[in-house]
């Protein structure tokens, strides 16, 4: 009996050791032309979009236009194609975790829509690979239509990993009805942070109205960094990452945290909302119910949130009730590059899973997704800053907000640093705003931020 147990244990341990040795960080590679001539293939596209839910328009487009058209086109070539659409409707952070786990374990869809800012970490982890390594020849006439700056969203360390899905820009949205009641102009354009705070003070008198929503705290995730800290930080004249170093507890970071203190310590914002599990969605709903005066968001807010038909927080009177203004620097000429106004931009990227069974077909599908016809169709009659210049030239003229982004915001905008450490820095910045909203002084919060920054990226990378 004892002998038998001993043997089992030994086998068990051997099995365990074998698995341990093989599992962490396994390398992957494959022949780019594998299954290129298959008469029948299946591709899966994964997106954080769901029919009738999050990013419903994009989901509708994939489900009802892309898939039928693509399979039809393949059929004409005598190939039986099946395209599956894996829908998600969750927070961006959760989606990222899911995609990372999928790719890490050798699974996941063939074409995956990710946020451009995750590209660096996925690439460094080997979870995605340069496009030409995955699919071989990447020549395509569409590249010529994608502006350099936008193509940069799909690049990491000089290599192209995916095809961008367009870009965006951030502005201050405001509720013109609340502004009128407070005696503020409908063509409001603040020229300094103080102007924004002053407008907030004017709005404060109205019952049930939160004057300013500037995203804060960890619960909002990247939305805090992208629609809060970073637009403010570029307004102080210094981007978060410069010459290979991250800003520590600099005067500029303190200025930004001081702005948060003025808003959330001064009754201009709602501190509780920032900490709720669904705070961002709540803030959208509140804006659409005329309960928030000023809100910093990307044009996504205009296209998909308060959009009267498909938005997640519809405003029937959006076109007359919602105004927008450029985000001012701290003071005139105080922004990066001496700018008066600032913005931040980002965008999604479609990548091809290195483990796909059909790399050539996946690339063909990718070209189809990014063809002028498909991109125009994805807009469903609305406007958006797509990746394609030819499409933008046709569609943006019809939408004053999107033309504003294209003409006024994109020339002054900045992009996030596309390095793998960024998400950790972003998390530290979110925590700093959470601390200030929770009552900590900006100086203390900046010190705590520096400490976690050093822990995350190393002392030598903090400026």
């Amino acid at each position: 009996m004892l002998e038998g147990m001993g043997r089992t244990k030994v086998f068990g341990l051997l099995a365990v050791c074998g698995l341990l040795a093989g599992c962490l960080g396994q390398p992957r590679s494959g022949d780019q032309a594998r299954n290129a001539d298959a008469g029948e293939f299946t591709l899966t596209i994964v997106a954080n979009a769901a029919v009738g839910g999050k990013n419903a328009r994009g989901a509708d487009w994939i489900q009802n236009w892309v898939i039928p058209r693509f399979t039809e086109a393949q059929k004409a070539k005598g190939v039986t194609a099946t395209v599956k659409f894996e829908q998600n409707g969750t927070g961006d952070e959760d989606f990222k975790t899911k995609v990372a786990l999928d790719l890490k374990t050798g699974g996941g869809g063939d074409v995956v829509e990710i946020d451009g800012i995750w590209l660096g970490e996925f690439a460094q982890a080997g979870q995605i690979k340069p496009l030409d390594e995955v699919v071989g020849d990447t020549s395509w006439d569409g590249w010529g239509q994608i502006p350099e700056a936008v193509q940069g969203l799909g690049e990491f360390e000089g290599k192209t990993y995916g095809v961008p899905m367009g870009t965006d820009g951030r502005v201050l949205f405001f509720n013109k009805k609340l502004f009128a009641q407070a005696g503020l102009p409908a063509d409001w354009q603040p020229r300094s942070w103080q102007d924004v705070l002053d407008a907030g003070a004017e709005l404060k008198g109205q019952a049930g109205v939160t004057p300013i929503q500037l995203n804060a705290g960890s619960a909002m995730g990247e939305a805090t960094t992208m629609q809060g800290v970073l637009p403010a930080l570029v307004g102080t004249g210094r981007p978060v990452y410069e010459n290979g170093k991250w800003q520590g507890d600099s005067a500029q970071v303190r200025d930004v945290l001081e702005l948060y203190r003025k808003i959330y310590g001064g009754g201009l914002g709602d501190p509780v909302l920032q900490q709720e599990a669904n705070g961002r969605q709540r803030s959208f709903a509140l804006f659409s119910e005329n309960k928030i005066g000023i809100l910093l968001e990307s044009d996504y807010f205009w296209r998909s949130v308060v959009e009267p038909v498909n938005g997640v927080a519809k405003m029937a009177d959006r076109d007359s009730a919602v105004g927008w203004a450029l985000v001012p620097a701290k003071e005139a000429k105080a922004g990066v590059g001496g700018q008066d106004f600032v913005s931040m931009s980002g965008g999604g990227v479609r990548v091809i899973n290195p483990n796909t069974r059909y790399p050539r077909q996946a690339w063909e599908f990718m070209q189809f997704l990014n063809s002028a016809e498909a991109v125009r169709e994805s807009l469903a009659g609305t406007a958006q800053l797509t990746q394609r210049q030819d499409v933008n030239d046709q569609v943006l003229g019809g939408d004053p907000m999107l033309s504003f982004i294209a003409e006024k915001v994109l020339p002054i905008t900045r992009y996030r640093p596309g390095v793998a450490d960024y998400p950790k820095v972003s998390a530290a910045l979110q925590q700093a705003t959470a601390d200030v909203v929770g009552g900590m002084s900006p100086d203390e919060a900046a010190k705590a931020y520096r400490a976690s920054l050093v822990k995350a990226v190393g002392e030598q990378n903090v400026g």
Partner: protein, 288 residues
């Protein structure tokens, strides 16, 4: 020796499937966690492709991490108030007071308590969300203060009350059957000599069920310490104020991507559980 008469080989044949299952689903993941815990393995980034062994660094870092100590403290509070005190006392109270009521009332009460235990966590979390929400939440409406966001302003208190509600059924069931083992004649005698309810419980009932109390407390303590439902209610927020250990480990591992660091923390949680279990087992043995 070989009382079943199977012989060594056949005996091994019989237990082998069970041992394989235990090996694959228990021993391997445990060793795996230990191994990841000594590396800097991450979900993404360079350390995902090429993890390095960092030895005990993760453990040292965890013990120094204010988030970890905060989390240990919150877990201790959570276990003490919601399990050791809350579920125990309420479970016993229900079992004791339902002894002598009419059967239909007892069955109804037990049914309701059980219902809160057997419903899926996600459903329950959604219901509590509706009750505690700031906007037209049921509790806010009942108390006439609809502007209170209970889960944000009183996160730990909410979680403790939630867990008492959620887990009392087990204690109630266990104590109900334990009380059935108390000889009625002794309770009756106590009543006749004029003992109060509390005196009866303390001097007549408790000595009979001491072992049950310890076993129950051990089980619910461990369950509560490992409970992940708090994540569904508060996600550890606001600002880490309800981040009990399982939630912290999840957030570090999957939201922060620090798989190695989180594994080291789970090992510390495991050690903590073992210590608690040992203390209870000592107490139990002393009784024997």
């Amino acid at each position: 020796m070989d009382s079943s008469g199977l012989g060594v080989r056949r005996a091994v044949g019989f237990v082998a499937p069970a041992l394989v299952l235990i090996g694959v689903f228990l021993v391997f993941p445990a060793l795996w966690t230990l191994y990841i815990g000594i590396t800097d393995y991450q979900l993404t980034g360079p350390a995902a492709a090429d993890p390095q062994v960092v030895g005990a660094d993760n453990l040292v870092e965890a013990v120094r991490d204010p988030l970890f100590t905060n989390s240990v403290w919150l877990t201790a509070l959570f276990v003490l108030f919601s399990a050791v005190i809350g579920q125990n006392v309420l479970g016993f109270g229900l079992a004791w007071s339902l002894r002598s009521v009419s059967p239909w009332l007892r069955r109804t009460a037990e049914g309701l308590v059980l219902l809160s235990w057997i419903l899926p966590s996600t459903v329950v979390a959604f219901l509590w969300f509706a009750v505690l929400s700031r906007d037209t939440g049921t509790l806010g409406l009942l108390l006439g203060s609809p502007q209170t966001s209970w889960l944000v302003e009183y996160p730990m208190t909410s979680l403790i009350i939630f867990n008492v509600w959620r887990g009392t059924a087990f204690s109630m069931l266990l104590y109900t059957s334990a009380l059935a083992a108390v000889p009625p004649s002794q309770v009756e005698t106590a009543r006749l000599v004029g003992a109060s309810g509390w005196q009866t419980v303390r001097d007549v009932v408790f000595p009979h069920i001491r072992g049950h109390v310890l076993t129950n407390t051990l089980l619910i303590s461990l369950w509560t310490a490992n409970d992940f439902t708090p994540f569904l209610l508060t996600s550890g927020g606001p600002n880490h104020r309800s981040e009990v250990l399982p939630v912290l480990i999840y957030r570090q591992a999957l939201e922060g991507g620090q798989l190695g660091y989180a594994s080291a923390m789970s090992m510390l949680l495991l050690v903590g559980n073992l210590v608690v279990a040992l203390v209870y087992l000592r107490l139990l043995r002393r009784r024997a």
